[in-house]
């Protein structure tokens, strides 16, 4: 991920040839020995669990009951069940809404706006704004969720008190909108910081020339700033899309309710695997989620590698 933040450099052939394949002069065996501990850790904590989830997804393993003691392999039944289950597609669609609304649109736009407005400012205002935005990002999820439940609660919520309204229940009447706004508020800090750093890299002289040539604010943004920060935008999109896709925090606000209206995929897996006890089916859904994540990641990485 870290490499992706830098625009990839194209090495020409001659330059590449000057570096030997064995720059450190260790030899294949010793080099292998140096890499081995890292590979072992990756296999143990990344590859093995992934394969294990794949295996569980092919079984009827359960948290309780007879299938917990003696699980059977059931082939691709779980995958077929997931792909034909309207609840799974409902969750997938909700996750798509959640990622698009809160990350791709919400956090990116709000984060960029904040970074753009604050780019030339100094002094206490900037520090206060940045401090507050970052505070929303670094507080523990449980604490933040509790505060938002207290804000939006139907009976004695702060919002109802402020508006002098009765029975306004955002978490029940507009559950998706509630968690989208919550997640924009929560995650905008990351985009703001990343764009802030990126905007610092735009050479002032380019902006100066553009202004002298009579470019409007929008034109400067489009033709000078954006080409410079394109890599950062894509990297940011990649990271926050994947984070949001796998985010479990909505559960703390709505528990997937009311009636599954906010049951995004991460919550769906928790509900079927741990609350419902269907570990095999949950593992199958997890595998599908993994595949969707891969597709999203490959899509962004391709964009990033493609010509500017």
């Amino acid at each position: 991920m870290a490499q992706a933040t830098l625009p990839p450099e194209v090495l020409d052939d001659a330059k590449a040839r000057r570096y030997s394949a064995d720059a450190a002069g260790l030899g294949r065996l010793r080099a292998g020995a140096f890499v081995a501990p890292a590979l072992a850790l990756i296999s143990l904590f990344l590859v093995f669990p992934a394969l294990w989830v794949l295996y569980l997804g092919l079984s009827n393993y359960r948290l309780t009951g007879a299938a917990a003691a003696a699980p059977r392999l059931v082939g691709f039944d779980n995958f077929v069940k997931a792909l034909t289950d309207p609840e799974f597609w409902n969750s997938t669609w909700l996750t798509f809404e959640f990622v698009l609304g809160s990350a791709v649109i919400g956090q990116v736009v709000l984060g960029f706006l904040l970074a753009w407005i604050m780019r030339d400012r100094t002094g206490p205002l900037k520090r206060i704004v940045e401090g507050l935005v970052i505070l929303a990002w670094i507080l523990p999820s449980a604490v933040v969720s509790f505060l938002w439940v207290a804000l939006l609660d139907r009976d004695d919520g702060t919002l109802n008190t402020l508006l002098h309204s009765q029975d306004f229940a955002p978490l029940l009447d507009h559950p998706m909108l509630s968690i989208i706004i919550f997640n924009i508020w929560r995650g905008a800090a990351f985009s703001m910081m990343l764009y802030g750093a990126a905007l610092g890299n735009v050479p002032p002289s380019h902006l100066e020339s553009a202004r002298l040539a009579g470019a409007s604010g929008w034109q400067q943004l489009r033709d000078v700033v954006f080409p410079h920060i394109r890599g950062h935008v894509l990297t940011n999109l990649l990271l926050i899309s994947l984070w949001t896709f796998n985010d479990f925090t909505p559960f703390l606000l709505t528990a997937g309710g009311p009636d599954g209206k906010t049951e995004v995929l991460a919550v769906h897996v928790y509900q079927v695997a741990l609350q419902g006890g269907e570990l095999g089916y949950g593992a199958a859904v997890s595998t599908v989620i993994l595949l969707i994540n891969l597709v999203v990641a490959v899509f962004y990485l391709r964009l990033l590698r493609s010509k500017k």
Binding site: L63, T64, A66, L171, P258, D259, A273, L274
Partner: protein, 464 residues
């Protein structure tokens, strides 16, 4: 086999931690030297859920038990592992602990989980885990057969029963007076409940009737909602080995939900959808906002209890009335009954993974000794204990529990003690959720039957 279990356990932990949960297994390994360390876990916590039970363990059981063992020459220390969460979450935590070969030496569980835990090997018959001590326990002679049945699966005893309970209709006498309803109200049909609800509504009561519905309330929807209504319409979940599908009694029960939540204003549909809806229903009842509430005796002793409740009601004894749950019409309930109820009860089990099963059983039995139960239930914390000898002494001081033990227990029914029950229960909750959000009872019943067929292995096991 053992290795595979461990690997499975490891995978579960990986999945769980990937979802932001933390595994909280308690080691049951013995300590160094000849000190025996025991842990006991319950879904109770001092100052919160079931506070009286938690305080009883910490303040009485642990010191007394340690002293009693010391007198026998054994050095035993006991640690209490509290929880204060919804039963479904407690069950998940417990299953994960047991799956990974850990968990407290002695733990409480809902009786209805016994089947699936036994099938999974998380519980083993007491005589296998503990030996002859379990069968020779002097308490068994004091425990009625129906209560022993809660701890029995396929003819074997898997745990000690902690007690039993019963469900009634609670009503707020203050609100009833305002609506011109009698303080000794006893409806004889569902229509009379609705009539009372309409009077309460006319008198300006915010929520005239609360019958739990929806999935957020979990088992509380099934036990304090669907099942008493189903029994009142003459239906049973399972009959002669076959599960009941979209039967007329189920449609009647769902129809009753529709009359309350389908726009009549007698109930609050949104409350059924809230993540913490049941806790809110407690607060609203204590705050004189709910007229009629179907709940178990837990409401009386654990929620409204002026001393230790989670939603204390200082004038509980004066302003809360209770009535039997009527059948749909007189004589229409199961077995031709006029009134119905449902009962369950908790169990106290010895962990098959315990390093010291004998001492663990002694601890479990100690908590259910006559002296212990009397201590636990003193100061207004009376509940129906498993022991007849203790009940005789303590219940007379407590009107509601006398009522439940005299009037409700004789006509009550139990849930089918099979492993598939909890999944069927969720399907029932979903059926009520559909009605609350506007589907017809017929449609919800048909959807239930489709899910039921998937759970119990095909249409062949379902009768409609």
């Amino acid at each position: 086999m053992r290795l595979r279990n461990r690997l499975m356990g490891a995978a579960v932990v990986v999945v769980a931690s990937g979802l932001g949960l933390t595994g909280c297994g308690q080691s049951s390994d013995g300590g160094s030297g000849d000190t025996i360390e025991l842990t006991i876990a319950q879904n109770s916590i001092s100052g919160g859920k079931n506070a009286a039970a938690a305080d009883y363990i910490t303040n009485w059981v642990i010191p007394k038990f340690e002293a009693a063992e010391k007198a026998k020459g054994k050095n035993v220390t006991v640690k209490f592992v509290p929880s204060g969460v919804d039963d479904e979450q407690y069950k998940t935590k417990l299953s994960l602990d047991l799956k990974s070969g850990k968990g407290a030496d002695v733990f409480d569980l809902d009786g209805i989980w016994a089947g699936e835990f036994a099938e999974a090997g998380y519980l083993k018959p007491l005589s296998d885990v503990v030996g002859a001590d379990a069968d020779n326990w002097d308490g068994w002679a004091q425990i009625p057969q129906s209560v022993q049945g809660l701890a029995t699966y396929n003819g074997k005893k898997y745990a000690l029963p902690v007690g039993t309970d019963g469900r009634v209709l609670y009503f707020n006498k203050t609100l009833f007076q305002k609506a011109g309803l009698p303080a000794d109200w006893q409806p004889k049909s569902w229509q009379e409940i609705l009539d009372a609800g309409n009077k309460l509504k006319a008198a300006g009561v915010p929520v005239p009737i609360q019958i739990n519905a929806g999935t957020a309330m979990g088992e509380a929807t099934t036990m304090q909602g669907v099942l008493p209504l189903l029994a009142g319409a003459g239906g049973q979940l399972q009959q002669d080995g076959k599960w009941t599908g979209a039967s007329q009694p189920l449609k009647d029960a769902l129809g009753f939900y529709q009359k309350i939540y389908g726009g009549s204003g007698l109930g609050d549909p949104k409350l059924q959808q809230e993540a913490k809806g049941r806790d809110k229903s407690f607060q609203q009842f204590a705050g004189n906002e709910i007229g009629i509430l179907l709940e178990s005796d837990y409401l009386w002793r654990g929620v409204l209890n002026p001393e230790t409740g989670v939603a204390k009601m200082a004038d509980r004894d004066q302003s809360v009335g209770y009535a039997l749950i009527p059948a749909e019409e007189p004589g229409k309930g199961i077995n031709g009954q006029d009134f119905v109820s449902m009962s369950g009860g908790a169990l106290r089990a010895v962990n098959p993974n315990s390093a010291h099963p004998k001492e663990a059983f002694e601890l479990a039995a100690f908590t259910l000794s006559p002296d212990g139960l009397k201590e636990e239930t003193k100061n207004g914390n009376v509940r129906i204990t498993p022991r007849t000898d203790v009940n005789k002494e303590i219940l007379s001081s407590e009107p509601l529990l006398t009522y439940i033990s005299d009037k409700v227990v004789p006509l009550t029914a139990f849930r089918p003690p099979v492993a598939a029950y909890t999944q069927v229960s969720v399907a029932l909750q979903e059926a009520t959720a559909e009605v609350v959000s506007g589907k017809t009872p017929d449609q919800a019943a048909a959807d239930y039957q489709a899910k039921l067929e998937g759970i119990v292995g095909g249409a062949g096991n379902v009768a409609s």
